[in-house]
């Protein structure tokens, strides 16, 4: 059965939750997060990589969270540059936090808490003695 788009994916309030989480990640950890919610046709991982690549010049420092609610797939793609402070184990932990919420039917809440989890792991405390930020 082909998916027929009907209606908005999220209510205004759910939208705000996700947007706020993205903003917090940027403010607290300087982590640009992009969230795609829709079908991932073909190989989900490959398509998620393409979507991550579509972020352009910012891709290397960005994290893409791709969610396919229909196929129940979640892909987190981290750019080459951001991978240093956000390793795959941390991404896996965030993925687990998200999927456990998704199982309960809470799509926006899972995405928001997953983003915050990513931000928390990517957080690098400012060192005061090396002169670098």
């Amino acid at each position: 059965m082909a998916p027929v788009p009907a209606g908005e994916a999220f209510s205004e309030r759910q939208n705000d939750d996700i947007v706020r989480a993205i903003r917090l990640a940027r403010q607290q950890s300087d982590l640009p997060v992009s969230v795609y919610v829709g079908t991932l046709e073909g190989d989900p991982r490959d398509l998620a990589m393409v979507l991550h690549g579509a972020l352009g010049a910012a891709a290397e420092q960005s994290v893409l969270v791709a969610v396919d609610p229909g196929a129940r797939r979640l892909e987190i793609v981290t750019g080459k540059g951001v991978r240093r402070r956000l390793d795959d184990r941390s991404a896996g932990l965030a993925a687990m936090a998200m999927t456990s919420a998704f199982q309960g039917g809470d799509l926006s809440g899972g995405i928001a808490s997953g983003i915050l989890s990513l931000a928390e792991h990517a957080h690098t405390p400012r060192s005061l003695h090396t002169g670098t930020r």
């Binding site: 788009p5 908005e8 947007v19 972020l55 396919d68 229909g70 129940r72 979640l74 991978r83 795959d88």
Partner: protein, 96 residues
């Protein structure tokens, strides 16, 4: 039963004042209309919150909405068409 006791039954008690019966329409309104109205009010009270929230995601029942991309490229279609897939990326995959 004798005629005397029968007529005694039809008499009214002290202080009892007989009133006119209500019409069919009034009876219908009171015994059908009001309960139906009450039923409707309760049904609305129960259903309104979930209707206000809109359709809810339920795992296993498919997905109905158009794709959304938060913090994505400005022109998503052309960006995806001209994109080169990230090669040295990391991350995680999960199912639920």
């Amino acid at each position: 039963m004798s005629a005397r006791t029968l007529s005694a039954l039809q008499e009214y008690d002290d202080g009892e004042v007989p009133a006119e019966g209500i019409s069919d329409l009034a009876a219908l309104l009171v015994y059908v209309g009001i309960p139906a109205l009450l039923f409707l009010v309760i049904a609305v009270l129960v259903l309104a919150p979930s209707m206000a929230r809109g359709p809810r995601y339920r795992p296993g029942l498919g997905w109905w909405a158009a794709p959304v991309w938060f913090n994505g490229p400005d022109d998503a279609d052309s960006a995806v068409r001209h994109a080169t897939a990230t090669a040295e990326g990391g991350g995680a995959s999960a199912r639920w």
